[in-house]
């Protein structure tokens, strides 16, 4: 397995999404480990801006050439932004999963829900368990 980046400051889901608080919103993307597993990302099915999402439920899909997986909401709320810049430039997810490769932003109903996600240490352990 190649080195995977797991930034300290983010929260993580078991399905390999990360979440970051930013001005009252929660920005969501997939982890470095997830993009390595998927390979080159070729398409994303985004939710509509304004759509309601539920913690732990799928909000969209992400595709590589050979696989498609659901994207799970790390927190409940409404979608307040989707990353339009990815359209036609999905390689950003592979190149910069925690930065330019962000996928959506959510206006959370209960910001405290984020605390129930994994921290970087727990997520690193979660990744290691699946690799062994």
């Amino acid at each position: 397995m190649a080195e995977t980046q797991i930034p300290e400051e983010l929260a993580y889901t078991a399905e390999d999404e990360w979440a970051r608080r930013e001005d009252g919103q929660v920005v969501v993307g997939i982890t470095d480990y997830a993009q390595q597993q998927l390979g080159d990302v070729v398409h994303i099915v985004f939710p509509e801006v304004g759509a309601a999402v539920t913690k732990g439920e799928p909000f969209g899909e992400i595709e590589s050439v050979k696989a498609v997986v659901d994207l799970y909401a790390p927190i409940g709320g409404n979608v307040c932004a989707v990353n339009d810049d990815l359209d036609g430039a999905f390689e950003k997810i592979n190149e910069d999963p925690y930065g330019a490769g962000w996928i959506i932003a959510i206006e959370p109903d209960e910001p405290a829900e984020l605390d129930s996600l994994m921290d970087a240490t727990a997520y690193a352990k979660h990744v290691a368990e699946r690799e062994s």
Binding site: H43, S64, V65, F90
Partner: protein, 501 residues
């Protein structure tokens, strides 16, 4: 052959030859050129715009080329040389049964009495083809141990759809509609897709550590809301489901039915019959087991066979005997309906019947015997140097993995591409999903001992290359007119047609 022993050339007999770059049809030709001379019109000419109105008549179609007959035949003949095919060599795609396609089949399918007949002509004008269909139905029923067969489904996937629809209709008819279908984790992707077309929820069942399904795992998920179980036997690991009788009992005890995916019937003919195992309904892949050509991806044919309890649900019409005549039978009270505009891919049925007649009861059994012998022989030749995830006697196919090549950072995909350089089509790769980096190899009965030996040597040679010179494997293929194609680019910005400038 003058190539050095052990060289790439010596193992697959692939060498270099001329290959011609061939542009798209639309980039060839000249205005005014034509490839047909139509007969002069023997009736008065009409003006379409006057007759049908200006708006109803189209302008020129820029996507159609202007070519002579010579241009056209050269174009397609050149394109053909960029394909690999069974007629060029071993084509070991697992679960696809790429056996030899006898040319007699092609000849008989082109007889005007089969090729130039119409599905809506009355039965008295089509007694010959109806008799052929009845005989094929009867032969498939006998080979599978089932009671009735409908030849209508146009492909295995459609036969499977028919089967699962019958299971749904059966439960509904009994006032006991059910919601779930059980599918082993080694199943082909069409199984869940067909179940979903019937609004069934798919419940996966894990295979055991020995690669087969165990009665306990089925019992655990089987219940009164389960319509049935879909399984493939031998399964996609090439292993016979040895607990199948007990598994079918468990499903039947709770009122469920068992669907058999017939993809791997080539292992069983004359040896064992799905109907005797407890299977209630299965499809046949005539393009696999019964030698009809794969045609670059179809047309196939996927007849569906059933036990008597499901016969009332068969897709209509079904050909049947009517005294010494042959007729089309629409009298199936609970039929799921029609699946094809006519009677299915009849041209493939003609070929399959020619095959059944050519082999007969003796040849069909010999065919399965040699298919199983070939797979086990390859496994015996390869098991020392290749990882065999389920190392036990197989039936008509065997599965290897790339596990032992991990250190050299060579993957199954690399091995597949390197096999091309040796002149072979690669096996089915990355399937079944239960094996990481699977290579699923089905040699079929068509391959001779020396052919199998060369193929085994090629895989052993690639295994050595992976250790000694991994780059040559990772960057393969080197000998094809195109090197590895960029599938990511194709999917990110799809170009699905040529555009007129």
């Amino acid at each position: 052959m003058s190539s050095a022993p052990g060289s790439v050339e010596s193992l697959g007999h692939a060498t270099r030859g001329l290959a011609w770059e061939e542009p798209l049809l639309f980039e060839r030709g000249r205005p005014g050129r034509k490839g047909v001379d139509l007969d002069p019109l023997d009736v008065p000419e009409v003006d379409p715009k006057q007759l049908l109105g200006e708006a109803a008549v189209r302008e020129e179609i820029p996507e159609l080329p202007e070519l002579s007959e010579v241009d056209v035949i050269r174009h397609f003949t050149r394109l053909s040389t960029w394909n690999y095919a069974v007629d060029l060599g071993l084509y070991p795609l697992g679960s696809c049964t790429m056996k030899y396609n006898p040319r007699l089949n092609e000849k008989v399918a082109r007889l005007p009495g089969f090729a130039e007949i119409h599905p809506l002509q009355p039965p008295e004008q089509s007694q010959g083809i109806l008799e052929l269909m009845v005989r094929l139905e009867e032969a498939l029923a006998e080979i599978s141990g089932l009671d009735r067969v409908s030849l209508q489904p146009a492909a295995g996937a459609q036969g499977e759809l028919a089967g699962i629809m019958m299971i749904r209709a059966y439960h509904e008819q009994r006032g006991d509609p059910r919601k779930k279908v059980l599918i082993p984790d080694s199943a082909h992707g069409t199984n869940p897709a067909s179940a979903a077309l019937n609004d069934f929820e798919c419940v996966p069942i894990p295979s055991g550590a020995d690669g087969v399904l165990h009665p306990e795992s089925v019992a655990e998920v089987m219940g009164p809301d389960v319509a049935g179980l879909m399984l493939t036997n031998p399964n996609t690991l090439g292993l016979f489901e040895e607990h199948i009788v007990r598994i079918c009992e468990i499903v039947h005890e709770q009122g469920g039915l068992v669907y058999g995916d017939g993809a791997n019937l080539n292992a069983l003919m004359g040896r064992s019959r799905p109907g005797d195992m407890g299977i209630d309904v299965m499809h046949f892949n005539l393009h696999k087991t019964f030698s009809t050509p794969h045609g670059g991806g179809g047309p196939g044919a996927g007849p569906v066979g059933v036990k008597n309890i499901l016969a009332p649900y068969l897709p209509i019409p079904v050909a049947r005997r009517d005294g010494d005549r042959f007729a089309l039978d629409y009298e199936f009270p609970h039929s799921i309906g029609r699946l094809h505009g006519s009677f299915g891919n009849v041209g493939m049925l003609v070929r399959a019947w020619a095959y059944v007649r050519s082999l007969g009861r003796d040849g069909l059994r010999q065919c399965s015997d040699m298919a199983v012998l070939n797979a086990n022989y390859l496994l015996a030749r390869l098991r020392e140097r290749w990882h065999v995830p389920y190392d036990r006697p197989v039936m008509h196919e065997c599965v290897l993995s790339d596990k032992l090549l991990e250190d050299c950072k060579v993957t199954t995909l690399d091995v597949a591409k390197r096999l091309i350089d040796y002149g072979y089509h690669p096996p089915t790769i990355y399937f079944p999903l239960v094996v990481h980096g699977a290579l699923m190899i089905e040699p079929t009965e068509s391959e001779s001992l020396e052919g199998l030996d060369r193929f085994a040597e090629a895989l052993l040679s690639i295994e050595r290359e992976a250790r000694e010179d991994p780059d040559v494997v990772r960057s393969a293929p080197h000998r094809t007119p195109r090197s590895r194609l960029d599938e990511t680019r194709a999917a990110r910005k799809p170009i699905l047609r040529w555009q007129p400038s």
